[in-house]
């Protein structure tokens, strides 16, 4: 790193808030997924002005900037693919305001998702989007990825819960997007920014909506012999007009890992389970529980467990929320995918996924938000085996291709990131992609702000070799 850059960064945030020793940088080379790249420096601004100062200093010296929250992302969004500076929000974790009348909270981007619900609890409120990493992941990262979670089926994802925010754009301007009220006026730039994966700028203050804790919550665990019956039940539940708060499926590999790791009382010999959560006014919920149980029974549920007490429900959810990490119990590495297919194609797609995994020799564990067709197949592998990482990426690419071909999407909630930027050409023409680059340009990003994320960039994005292989495996033709 140049002495000039180091000095510029230290001038903005102070000497102790810039990391540059090799061993300190090492731990910022990765997030929750496979891709790695070492930054030249990591900076920790304390407020909006310092964020602005860092962005401007980097722009002036033509150094790439990559924003980072807690580094729990699953598409390489916080990986500094072209080195440069990682801008971490870890020092920006103040709760600025909680307004129980307006039911809003204003927080800095480094606040952990779970903190929102903790501070809202005393007012009988909570923050709805609940990614499985909610104990660690930050609200800034949630905004970047438009994070979802099991409870987004009925209540919507991050964009439905962020009213407005202050951002520092890629060009280093401070702007307010959205409003303090419920509906934006004019173009919804707030909506554009949320889910832009940190390519348009960095949110520095976020106003979120808080919702009332429901009167009654019932969680059902329905056990099935196979994934097909469970999938049919999902369609039946939705077909009956129910919109559960959450509707999650886990297959047998996942159940075994979760039970081994978290001892949450799951039946490890079942073919699949559904977690169905219903909430609302007591009487209504009771009726819905009856309907949901009927749908399960009709489609071959071998057992249905009902949890109404918070501790029992928490135990059922503990297994689900820790399921992915628990895969570490049965394999040294996993490659977690995130794809979306129409609900009607669930069973067919699962079959294809299993076939691909078998072809490559990787066991597949499935956890997914069945209610909205959001699949999370996990390919289990050992990165220490020669060539395993390249092959697992190839298999992943094939699976993503299956999702797109089924009329689905490349991501439900993890983002495109670095991981899947090459696959954007399956969904969009070169003209579409160029238009997206122009949007990015309006925020002042000519490619140096969180480089190589979302849109394909060509060369210069770290280790592209394995991605090339993956792309070749899935077929490069544009899907327009």
């Amino acid at each position: 790193m140049s002495a000039e850059l180091l000095k510029a960064l230290r001038d903005v945030v102070g000497r102790e808030h810039v990391l540059h020793k090799p061993e300190d940088l090492l731990v910022y080379e990765l997030d929750g997924t496979i891709d790695r790249s070492l930054p030249d420096a990591v900076v920790f601004p304390a407020n909006t002005e310092e964020v602005q100062g860092v962005v401007r200093a980097c722009n002036a010296l033509d150094v790439p900037v990559t924003p980072r929250g807690a580094g729990t992302g699953l598409s390489g969004g916080a990986v500094p693919t072209r080195q440069g500076v990682v801008l971490a929000t870890a020092r920006m974790r103040r709760i600025l305001d909680v307004d129980p009348i307006e039911r809003t909270a204003t927080v800095e981007p480094g606040v952990a998702n779970i903190r929102l619900s903790e501070i809202a609890a005393e007012h009988g409120l909570f923050y709805a989007p609940d990614p499985s990493s909610q104990k660690a992941c930050t609200i800034g990262g949630n905004v970047a990825e438009n994070a979802g979670g099991p409870h987004c089926l009925a209540l919507g994802v991050t964009t439905n819960h962020v009213i407005g925010m202050e951002v520092v754009t890629a060009s280093g301007e401070v702007e307010w997007l959205g409003s303090h009220g419920p509906e934006p006026t004019g173009y919804d730039l707030r909506g554009l920014f949320i889910g832009s994966e940190g390519t348009l700028g960095i949110a520095t203050k976020v106003v979120v909506r808080l919702v009332p804790v429901p009167e009654t919550v019932v969680t059902l665990l329905a056990i099935f012999d196979d994934v097909e019956s469970a999938s049919e039940t999902v369609s039946a539940v939705i077909g009956a007009g129910l919109v559960p708060a959450a509707l999650e499926m886990m297959d047998t590999v996942t159940l075994q890992a979760a039970e081994a790791g978290l001892r949450c009382g799951y039946p490890p010999d079942a073919g699949a389970v559904l977690l169905i959560e219903l909430d609302g006014i007591d009487e209504v919920v009771r009726g819905q529980v009856t309907q949901a149980r009927a749908a399960c029974n009709e489609h071959g549920a071998t057992e249905i467990r009902t949890a109404t007490e918070p501790a029992e429900r928490e135990l059922l959810w503990k297994g689900r929320k820790g399921a992915i990490g628990a895969l570490g119990r049965i394999a040294p590495n996993y490659y977690l995918l995130d794809g979306v297919v129409p609900r009607s194609k669930l069973v067919e797609t699962m079959g294809e996924v299993a076939r691909i995994g078998e072809g490559y020799g990787f066991p597949v564990a499935n956890v997914f938000h069945a209610g909205d067709g959001n699949l999370h197949p996990c390919l289990l592998f050992d990165e220490r085996e020669e060539g395993a990482t390249a092959r697992v990426l190839e298999a992943g690419a094939e699976i993503m291709r299956i999702c797109v071909d089924a009329g689905g999407a490349l991501t439900g909630e993890h983002g495109v990131g670095f991981e899947k930027n090459r696959f954007m050409a399956w969904l969009y023409s070169e003209e579409d992609l160029e238009n997206m680059r122009r949007v990015r340009g309006i925020f002042g990003n000519e490619g140096g702000f969180n480089p190589c994320k979302v849109l394909p960039e060509g060369t210069g994005c770290g280790e592209m070799a394995h991605q090339e292989g993956a792309l070749a495996a899935a077929g490069p033709d544009a899907y327009v």
């Binding site: 061993e23 731990v27 997030d31 929750g32 807690a70 104990k135 119990r329």
Partner: protein
Amino acid sequence: MTGWPLAEDAPDTADLAKCVHCGLCVNACPTYAITGLEVESPRGRIHLARAVAEDRIPLTEAVQGHWELCLQCRACEAVCPSGVPYGRIMERARAQLDAAPPSRGWERRLRRFALRNVIARRRVLAAMLAPVRWFARSPLRGLVRASGVLRLAGPLGRLEAQLGRPGRPFRPRDAAGAGDAALFTGCVMGELFGDVHRASVRVLERSGANVFAPRGQGCCGALSAHDGDLEQARRLARANIAAFEASGAETIVVNSAGCGAAMKEYGELLADDAEFAGRAEAVAAKVVDFSEYLAGRDLPPGRLPARVAYQDACHLAHAQGISAEPRALLEAVEGCELVETEGADMCCGAAGIYSLIQPGMSGELRARKAAQFRKHRPDVIVTANPGCQMQYEAAVREAGIEARVLHLAEALDEAGVVGSE
């Protein structure tokens, strides 16, 4: 190829590979909560260990510093879905530091000398602590405090702030077969917390137990293991195993969370010891925490009219998974109102000898506890580990409130006395 200087006690490659760097641990980590730095998080420390193991980086002073700032509270283990044995990794990573180029070498050597020759030797420890006990109860203490001279005394001043009013020592005294439930007496615990042991015995007896303190037992070895001195830890473990085998005890009741966690892991510690591996497993299987033991028995609830804030001891809640039992025992006590404070299960910064080695970080964590005490103003603060008790004494003074700090055994003992009045 590996960069570990001490190959036989190096972190296991399979243990390191278990971490899938999902990051779910970072917010559970006290040092990450304070610093916000990935290098001061469990994921970061494991990543550094992997990098050393793969010879990507040398074992530099900076790396050593990041490992030494770890409290080894194991809060990360409790939230890790992949089951990464972080405590084991960190003990072995620290074992490498002696063989590594020196960083604060004299300090580490001095510490090791003290752990081996004072803490682990009852007579030496007793001789060293006798004047401390005298001072803690003498009128001189008030004068010293008022004079402010301790502020100049660095670590001594910090120690003084943590010191309660230690009672008479409690030393192992009973012959084999004198009871069914053996009380583990420990090292510092027996010398400075004799009152806690006596309270434990009374409470256990009130629950119908036949308690004894078999001779031959000594320091559990946890402090040495955490410091990376696995050789000494194994030596102490073997002595205890032999003592408890000879005692004929059915159960070994431990009232110090750190000791209990270490003793439950004797099997792991001695896994490669052909003579002791099986015996270690057998003794470890008999170890129960004081609250765990009582949870399965019929203890008359007693009475203690007070607002009580229970603070989890890390090695009880995180390493042994025991957090409901102590609360349930307190809740059963008539008049006892449990107050849940935020961060009750986060490390207080005592962490064995950590508060002496890392006073800055330890102080930050203590301040968090003090702020909670000031907010909730409990009458009594209850915990289950001697080090934590000392730290809470200091936190209470820092908060400027009038709370008493009790071990769970003391609280239950007092409830028994008040209840029978």
